[in-house]
Every structure is written in C-alpha cells, then in structure tokens.
C-alpha cells in the first residue's frame, strides 16, 4: 500500500503543472456579492416549505409542545423520543441506548438543530457520531428545535461558524427525505424521514 502511495504521489509530482492561485473567499468584493434577505427567517421558512418541510416560528418550548400536539403525524405516532428537555411527550427513553438498531421503531424524534440557512432551507445538526445520530435518519418523522436567532443567510455564512478541529459528525438537513428516481415523480419519504418540521424558538431553552 505504501508503494501505491509513493507511486501515485511521484506520478503527480513528475508533471509540471502551471501554478494557480487559490481564491480568497473572504475578500469584500466577493462577500458583498452573496445574496442576502430582508427577513432571513421568512426566507428559510419559505425555502423549507418549497422542499416539503415545515417551519414553525414559536415563542418557547411550551409553544413547541402545543404545535407538536396539533401535527397529525405526531398525533399518529406511538414511539416518540426527545433529546430536548421538556419537549414533546416522549414515550421512549433513548438516553441509555448504545445500539442504533434499538431505534428502529421510533416514529417521531424531537432533536436539536444548531442553526438554519435561509438560502436553501437547510438546518445544521451535529454530534459526536454516536448511536443517537441515527435518529435523524431512521425515525419516520423528525422535528428539529433551533434557536430563532440562529439563522444565517447563505452557505458561506454557515461555514464561517463551523469548525472541524475535532472528530464529529454533522449534516445539513434540508426537508424530508425524497427521491424522483421513478420517472422524475417526486416522492417524499425515500429512506430517511417522511416529514421534517423545524421549530425556530425565540426564547432560550
């Protein structure tokens, strides 16, 4: 294997490739051109709706609970778990779970999100990559709870706040899972969540 490494690197190094410059993405003449929105939260909400997700802007966790109770998919869910304190009416305690397979039957998961991106309706979630990370994908329905102040306009702003110094897992979740592989007909609920609801919560929780 080391021989392959050396072979590949030396093949690359034997070529003389013209020098090029790496663009500075922080230059004002660039950053000034990136799109901005007068109301980023509204833009986020509109974009999320266009990708078949739902954004609900609420005051506090109590209101989250109220709005959850109104969601038909929540009402129909039997196995509910929550990683947000005092949020939802969980019927399953997942805190002790070490094998992600044990999460197979979760119908509805209430999970934390870090921040939202207005331009595309995506929410950044991150964790240490442990067994509970599966909840974001394996649960039939997912609700993300995000502080309302944490909405950025675009992806450049998103990466300004992200650092990857330590081992981690993170993903931008933009709406429920989907596919159009059958004759370009959009079907919601491919392998991941069948629905995604993002709560933007004003008060700290």
């Amino acid at each position: 294997m080391t021989a392959s490494r050396e072979s590949i690197l030396s093949t690359l190094r034997k070529h003389s490739v013209p020098e090029t410059e790496l663009p500075d993405l922080q230059l004002p003449e660039l950053t000034q051109q990136w799109i901005t929105y007068p109301d980023p939260s509204q833009q986020f909400s509109d974009m999320l709706a266009s990708i078949k997700g739902l954004c609900l802007q609420v005051k506090d966790i109590e209101e989250v609970n109220q709005r959850l109770a109104e969601l038909p998919v929540y009402q129909e869910s039997n196995n509910i778990c929550s990683l947000i304190p005092d949020c939802g009416q969980p019927t399953v305690n997942v805190n002790q779970i070490t094998d992600p397979h044990d999460l197979e039957n979760i119908d509805f998961a209430i999970l934390p999100g870090e921040f939202c991106v207005a331009e595309n309706g995506a929410t950044w979630i991150t964790n240490d990559g442990g067994p509970l990370r599966t909840l974001y994908f394996l649960s039939q329905h997912v609700a993300l709870v995000v502080p309302a102040s944490e909405v950025v306009p675009h992806m450049h702003a998103a990466y300004q706040r992200l650092s990857f110094e330590n081992p981690s897992f993170g993903t931008f979740m933009a709406g429920p899972s989907k596919t159009a592989d059958i004759e370009q007909s959009l079907v919601i609920g491919a392998h991941g969540a069948r629905s995604l609801t993002v709560f933007l919560v004003e008060e700290s929780f």
Partner: protein, 456 residues
C-alpha cells in the same frame, strides 16, 4: 462495443421513447435554470469553483498528503489504490478482516468505475445499492445510465413489473409513491441487517481530513450510522483545500444537478463514530496522468453533477448506454478516451459542438473544446477511420486550389439536378436519408460577382 452512432440509431428507432427520454432530461435542465436564476451571483460562484479546482489539480500531491495527515489525526484509515483492481482488493480486504457478509452502498460512480459489486459478490459478499435508482438498475443487472439519475431511462411501468418480479409487489402497479414505499420497506431491512456501509465522496477537505456525502434519500446516512464500519471511496481529484470552499461547492452542486438549492442531506464525516472504524480509499486509476495533461487537466475539476448530460442534446436523444462508458455524456466522452482511446474513439464525435455543456458546468470545464481536442488526439493516434482521413485530405487539397474547388462545385451544380432521384438518394447518401439536398443554384456567388459586380 458498438460505436455511439450505432447505439444511438438503435435508441432512436423507438422515436416516442426517445422523445420521452429527451423531455425527461430537458425537464431536469429547466429545473436547473430556474434554480440558478435565483442567484444573481451564480457566474461568480462558478468562477470561484473553477479557480479552486484549478488550484487543487496544480497542488494535488501536497493536498493529498495534507488530507491524509489530518484524516489520520482524527482516527481515519487512509488507503491508496493505483487502479481499479487494487481498489477492489483493498475494500475486500477491509471487509474480510471484519468478516462482513452484507454491505449497503450509497451512490458511488467510482465503485461503478471499478466494478466493485461483481468483485465482492465473487467472494460471497452481498452488496446492495441503496440509492433507489441504482437499486432499480441493480435488480435489472444493468449499469446506471446517468450519474445522478441512474434509472432515468426506465418507465414506471417497467419498474412496476420489475418490482413485481423481484419484490412481489402488485402486478401492474405504476404509482411512484407505492413503488417507492415498497423499496423503502425492503431497503430498510437491508440497512438494519448490514454489517458495513460503503459510500462515495462528494468532497474531501484537505484542511480538516473530513469529507462530505450528499444524498436526497438519506441512504448514505442510514448505511453508515447503523453499523460500525464505513468505507468511503474517492477519486484523488475530489479534494478541496478548505472547509470554507464547501460554501461555494454546496451552493453549486445540487442546483446544477437537479435544480434543488441543496440535497436533503449533506453529511460531513470527520473521524469514525465512537467505537466505529472509518476507512477512506483514494483511487488514482489514470487521474494522475490526466493531471499532467495540459489539454485535459481541467476535466479533473468535475464534481459529477451531471448537468452536462442533462443539457446535451445528443445525450438526451441517445441515452447513457449508447456511450458504453461508466460515465456517459460530455464529461464521459472526455474521461472515456483518456482511459481507453481505441474503445471510446467514437465518443468525442458524439457531439455537435454546441457548447451548452460548457456553459452549465459549475466548475467551468471547457467540455466542448476538450472534445474537439480529443478528436485531434484520435487522429494523431491513427484511430480515425480511413474514409474520414482521406475525405478530409481531399477536401483540404481541393480548398488549397481555388480553380479546382470552383470546378468541382460547378460540376456538382450542373450534374446533380439532372440525376434521377434514386441515384442521389440512396444508402450511400447519409445526408439524404431524412433530408433533402439543397437546390443546386445555376451560379455560384463568385460567378455572380464576376458577371454582375463591376469591382473585382
């Protein structure tokens, strides 16, 4: 393999189906247009992406070493494979050490390039392609016809029949919702039962040692979060230097590919899961040679979005299979000949040089110019059919002698109008199969000038 024109002609025999295929892909192109029009800074983004990728290719060995160092520091195992065979051996080796019997794989054109599936299956390992489109073609035992929409060429009736045969779904079912739900249930079991997950890599970040996998279905995440072993396979050109560069690429990728602002999941893997193992296999397979080519180096910018295929009027009307190459369409017609010029000699000619591909490419590869350059290479390698070489030589010779050129033109104009139709329109006249020849005027322009225009 039969040449592109032969396979394309076969494809077009079913005109209705060819139209359907053309319209399906045009629809995706239009979605792309709508999405990019929302961003006034779109062309600026393309310019940055192109520059970043140029930098990557000109600093590839250093960036690869940086990536390896940072990945290892996070506990990732990094492997290097010179070619497809070595790649498959490495992947198999890892799976064998973990006694893996069942693998789930998310979309990876690279593993398609290496023919990984049949390789592993020979060792009794079950490997399931979990992207719905890829699973459909896997069930058919066929390759994907498009790098992003593998089953774009298949009608829902055919999928209904396939599922009925392989999964026991209702006979005659065509509702995409029903068919997708059936796939969801079946593949969910596969995710649950798998011992290992294999993914591709959309972008690997040299600065952090991590990588990003983009899907709409969530299959890469289910495949890698439910078990402890994740193997990620990537071409060495898939690097980007800094995490911030993802801001540019993630804004370009999904809009170019399908007209979405972003894929449903853009997962960033930095290090293995706690108690898990993460392996990255870096594949060369000819890329290091392309990096050395002044003419074709820019093709390594490719982020495999498929926009060039969607916009290509030839691809839309001939289908991915007519290219007989893992990657079809414009980019495939550049990469294919790089890999095997003789086998893929017809591909650079499967192009009307319209340039649409170049204008949609998010990383500004000058695709149609590279296709033209390939035509030159093909002639230089002596792979151009004799008839083409000779006719071009004769044409050039004639054009260097104005009197000869005029004589030939005049003779044709004199004779052709008097020839019986069957002599003009027959199997030797490819032009005349579906088109009339132009009317032969009595006078050429220069004859008219001589006669009517005083000045010489």
């Amino acid at each position: 393999m039969p040449s592109h024109p032969k396979l394309a002609a076969e494809f077009i025999k079913d005109k209705d189906r060819a139209h359907w295929h053309d319209q399906s892909l045009w629809f995706v192109r239009s979605k792309r247009d709508k999405a990019v029009q929302q961003l006034p800074e779109w062309e600026l983004l393309r310019e940055q992406a192109s520059k970043i990728k140029s930098y990557v290719v000109s600093h590839l060995p250093d960036l690869l070493e940086e990536f390896e160092k940072n990945a290892k520091a996070k506990g990732v195992h990094v492997h290097w494979a010179r070619d497809a065979k070595e790649h498959n051996e490495i992947v198999h080796g890892i799976l064998e050490r973990h006694q893996v019997k069942r693998v789930v794989k998310s979309k990876s054109m690279l593993t398609e390039e290496c023919h990984l599936n049949p390789y592993l299956e020979r060792y009794g390992i079950e490997i399931v392609d979990t992207d719905l489109g890829e699973w459909i073609v896997q069930l058919q035992d066929k390759p994907p016809s498009h790098i992003v929409m593998p089953a774009i060429h298949i009608k829902k009736e055919e999928i209904g029949e396939l599922f009925h045969e392989k999964l026991g779904t209702e006979k005659g079912a065509t509702d995409p919702q029903y068919l997708t739900e059936s796939a969801r249930q079946r593949l969910r079991q596969k995710f649950i039962e798998a011992d290992a997950g294999i993914t591709g890599v959309n972008f690997a970040i040299a600065e952090t040692g991590g990588f990003v996998v983009c899907t709409n279905e969530g299959n890469a995440d289910l495949g890698t979060s439910l078990n402890k072993l994740h193997i990620a396979c990537m071409g060495i050109e898939k690097l980007i230097p800094r995490a911030n560069d993802l801001g540019v690429f993630l804004r370009l990728l999904a809009r170019s590919a399908t007209g979405q602002p972003i894929t449903t999941y853009s997962s960033h893997f930095h290090g293995p899961a706690p108690e898990g193992e993460l392996h990255i296999v870096l594949l060369d397979n000819g890329r290091s040679e392309i990096a050395g080519s002044d003419e074709f180096r820019r093709s390594l910018n490719c982020i495999r979005c498929g926009a060039c295929m969607n916009t290509c009027p030839v691809y839309r009307r001939s289908g991915g299979y007519s290219y007989s190459n893992t990657v079809p369409g414009p980019i495939g017609s550049i990469l294919g000949p790089a890999h095997d010029t003789k086998a893929n000699a017809s591909l650079p000619f499967a192009c009307s040089l319209c340039g649409s591909c170049t204008d949609v490419c998010p990383v500004k590869i000058d695709l149609h110019h590279q296709l033209l350059t390939w035509r030159k290479q093909i002639r230089l390698k002596g792979l151009l059919p004799l008839s083409k070489r000779l006719s071009m030589k004769m044409l050039s010779w004639m054009m260097q002698a104005p009197r000869l050129y005029q004589f030939v033109g005049k003779t044709a104009r004199r004779i052709v109008p008097y020839l019986p139709r069957f002599l003009v329109y027959n199997r030797f006249n490819a032009w005349g199969k579906q088109r009339e020849l132009p009317d032969m005027p009595k006078q050429s322009f220069r004859e008219w000038m001589k006669q009517n225009h005083d000045r010489k």
